[in-house]
Symmetry: none
């Protein structure tokens, strides 16, 4: 039996941007598109060019290599021609492979919100698809409120789908916009829709308002749809969209699906899924869900007891899939061999060579566990991880040492009577036994420290001349009076190579300084700077 | 058509206690049992008397008034009589209305883990149920791994279920112990089981390892089961159990279920659901999931302007149920994507009264847009939003003004030669024309500023005595040299009421200070402190 191809459409950068508290910058969007392209989704919906400056700039050039780069927009407005609709024209001018248009499919909305006749709505769908196809774009139509619309007026909802298909849309996507449809209804209504549009051109767009977005996506698949829309970690308006990070392993690993369907995500990308999920959370500055299916830190965690001992005998007893397949690992309250293999793999990845049976591996594993308990998270900080390993193995020279530092931030009225805030830092380092004192002003305390630290590192100065900070993230762990601050700093050299370092402390300045020192040290190691 | 009764069985205190990081004390258990009894679930499974001192003490007396107080335990062990099995006897002596026994239903486990024959396993089930029924207990049997067992050896799995039923078990519960079964499989296998045990005696116990626990519970219901096991907020081993807080509103409010089934949870209890969910999170010290179906803070939050204006016209357009039915409320997020309707709705929510056609609304909207372009995000900072509105409308007195502040962070060697970091702040404020200077040390610079600021606010001091910081979040926008820091501070007063304020600046200290000042000012406004 040949597997049928199922297409994954990611809308993290469009519907995901509707999430309360999420606000993508251009740099964020570029980074997320790269993550998605590496994962192997078929479509990356990047936003709504013309709606805001960020999205317009994002669509100034193509941002994916494998996935179809997709622009979102509204179907043509009533009462004006295609060439006279600036929104639509903006969309067709974007550097996109595909255009996805949202069109209403619920008669109630057409009358209430658009104030046009049902026939006019169908004509708008037809003309919109025509113009997009004529402009050479692969065309998708999101039928908004399709399921509620079908329940209210099935003929009209089906007519919207049929019109989009007949006008040449590659995909007609049935949207459960309000997230209130049950799996049984999804199954029934998708079956009805497949009578007017072939299943190989039908998509599903589900929301999680009843905790059923994943189930509804699978129900649509069962009823014939072959295109699933979703987001990374289930981001999205209200309770979120269907979570692709949950769906992908289910489609790849559960025989009920894997024996029937094929997706564009490869086995290797699947093994990077847990790490991708956490990187994405770092990017949007959200705490990772420890209980997330497949990728959560606790997804394969078992409290000590009968289950744990059974798992050691035979993992199949209490694990529905092998955690390694999604890049996660088993957590038991006993020392496990999985930790060691993970560590070896990670060391190889960051270029630290070590024998499989080197006894120092155990020390390093213990040290990492201890530090992670303190708040370090090495998954997002490769450079600090590599440094920690090298230090434990005696392979990181002490290029310089820090004697002391001092930072002052002062807000006061200046000579002109204006309220200003100044930040100054003084750093004392020792290089080759020689003390060096530098001082600098900065935009803020961390910037002042960074500038002062890199002003004079003696003979190492040439190696760090092109280093610059490209990102700085802060997370407060625990909260309240026992709060611990975790700082992640991303740095870049003149060749555009970047690396991330971490610092943890109750004091944000201390944590930042630790990450700064790691960043400079890593740069010196990378550049093969001579040891003192 | 009469509704069929569906029974809810809560296992928060038993399977929920397997959650990594959750550890119930006796007092916790008593409090949770009370919450559950008030909610209206039919069974409260309290734990495993005899397995640990907490559970034994919890079962020393009956802890529920409405729900059946249920003790969990293992079926009788092999090679000893019922009267000679201390675990089983302990269970029968507990002050419980019902006993729920776990029994193996997967031949592989019977042979591997128990090391007994399949017939012996059936005999153990029969004798266990016999003894429990004889002791006057309502008896339930959890068939562990029923679905995996059915796939491996359907005859044996069904024989386990039939044996429990014929011996007199009130409920035979089919458990998807590893959480790896799909909804289609659940539906098929529950249908098969209902041929040997009537559906009115069949239960479902689902886990969320594929994000399908809720869907699987509903699929079992569709196939005839009439008893659903789950937990509050989906607590449970690994990814958790079926979330009753999600299932209850779906069963109560969605016609597809509400027209067919009836549960013991009343309309009034349903209106307390959001509050119950958050109280429970407080109790187990977990951060509430803002994106949780029905009860999350964002479950009815809308960012997009077009959606928002449609909701204001008619909530049915973008809401699948009325948020008030579950004790939640609509949030129209103020953001550059929103418009006037969002603004009016939000002003009403934070208690700022203004006429629909007040011209200052336009000014306020412009100001918000300008500030959001600078990096402010008012959707997560209600208190700063309320202050901004009041200031624009001239309704926020200047209780005090800040003359200047200074913070110093120094890392140095102390007299003992240890490396230490100290943070000190000096703040000058003017209250009633009188300058007040305070200084303080802190764990970090923001803590030092906070302590100094709240050390002496003159006659306002009594109003802020009980204020404390409960959370502090930092996000760096743009990145690189033009980085802007956004700080969110959550504060709480002595009565447990909390509010969030925001500060934005290129300088993290400035941004933090702005949020601190807003927090103190908001507290003074809330307390009706007299204006200067």
């Amino acid at each position: 039996m040949t597997c049928e191809r199922v297409y994954l459409f990611d809308t993290t950068l469009r519907d995901g941007a509707q999430t309360a508290g999420v606000d993508f910058t251009l740099a964020d969007k570029i980074a997320v598109a790269k993550l998605l392209d590496g994962l192997g989704v078929d479509y990356v919906e990047g936003g709504y060019p013309g709606a805001n400056p960020t999205d317009t700039e994002f669509f100034a050039e193509k941002r994916t290599t494998r996935a179809a780069f997709t622009a979102f927009g509204m179907a043509k407005r009533s009462g004006r021609s295609v060439s006279n609709d600036p929104g639509l024209q903006g969309l067709l001018q974007a550097a996109a492979d595909a255009c996805c248009f949202v069109a209403k499919a619920w008669d109630f909305h057409v009358r209430e919100a658009l104030g046009v006749t049902l026939d006019e709505n169908l004509a708008q769908i037809r003309e919109t698809v025509d113009s997009s196809v004529a402009a050479g774009r692969e065309t998708l139509v999101d039928c908004e409120h399709f399921f509620d619309g079908y329940k209210a007026n099935s003929d009209f909802a089906l007519a919207c789908a049929r019109t989009a298909y007949e006008a040449g849309a590659r995909w007609v996507v049935l949207c459960d916009t309000n997230g209130g449809t049950t799996p049984e209804e999804i199954s029934e209504i998708v079956t009805a829709a497949s009578a007017v549009v072939p299943g190989t051109c039908l998509g599903i767009h589900a929301h999680d308002d009843m905790g059923l977005a994943v189930a509804n996506s699978l129900a649509a698949l069962g009823a014939g749809a072959r295109h699933i829309q979703g987001t990374l970690n289930g981001l999205g308006e209200r309770c979120g969209n269907a979570n692709l990070i949950t769906l992908i392993p289910t489609l790849k690993l559960k025989p009920a699906y894997a024996d029937r369907y094929e997706i564009g995500v490869g086995d290797e990308a699947l093994e990077g899924l847990a790490s991708l999920s956490r990187s994405f959370d770092e990017l949007v500055n959200r705490t990772s869900n420890r209980y997330a299916p497949y990728v959560g830190a606790n997804a394969f965690a078992t409290k000590a007891g009968i289950h744990a001992s059974a798992i050691v005998k035979n993992p199949r007893t209490y694990e529905h899939v092998d955690p390694e397949r999604v890049g996660n690992h088993r957590r038991l309250l006993i020392s496990d061999q999985g930790g060691r293999s993970n560590l070896l793999a990670e060391l190889a990845r960051v270029g630290v060579e070590i024998e499989r049976d080197d006894p120092r591996l155990v020390d390093l594993l213990e040290l990492i566990k201890k530090r992670e308990a303190q708040g370090y998270a090495y998954e997002g900080a490769d450079a600090s991880f590599a440094l920690l390993a090298r230090r434990t193995l005696g392979r990181a020279p002490d290029f310089f040492s820090v004697e002391s530092f001092r930072v002052m931030v002062e807000r006061r009225h200046n000579a002109l009577g204006e309220l200003v805030t100044v930040s100054e830092a003084v750093v004392k380092v020792v290089v080759d036994g020689e003390p060096l004192i530098t001082a600098a002003e900065g935009i803020g305390p961390v910037n002042a420290l960074d500038v002062a630290l890199r002003k004079d590192l003696g003979r190492y100065q040439p190696f760090i001349a092109d280093l610059r900070l490209t990102d700085y993230k802060v997370r407060i762990l625990n909260g309240g009076t026992e709060a611990i601050t975790r700082v992640l700093i991303e740095s870049m050299d003149g060749e555009g190579q970047s690396w991330t370092t971490i610092g943890v402390s109750p004091n944000i300045i201390d944590a930042s300084f630790e990450a700064l020192i790691d960043s400079v040290t890593y740069r010196l190691l990378k550049a093969d700077a001579p040891a003192p």
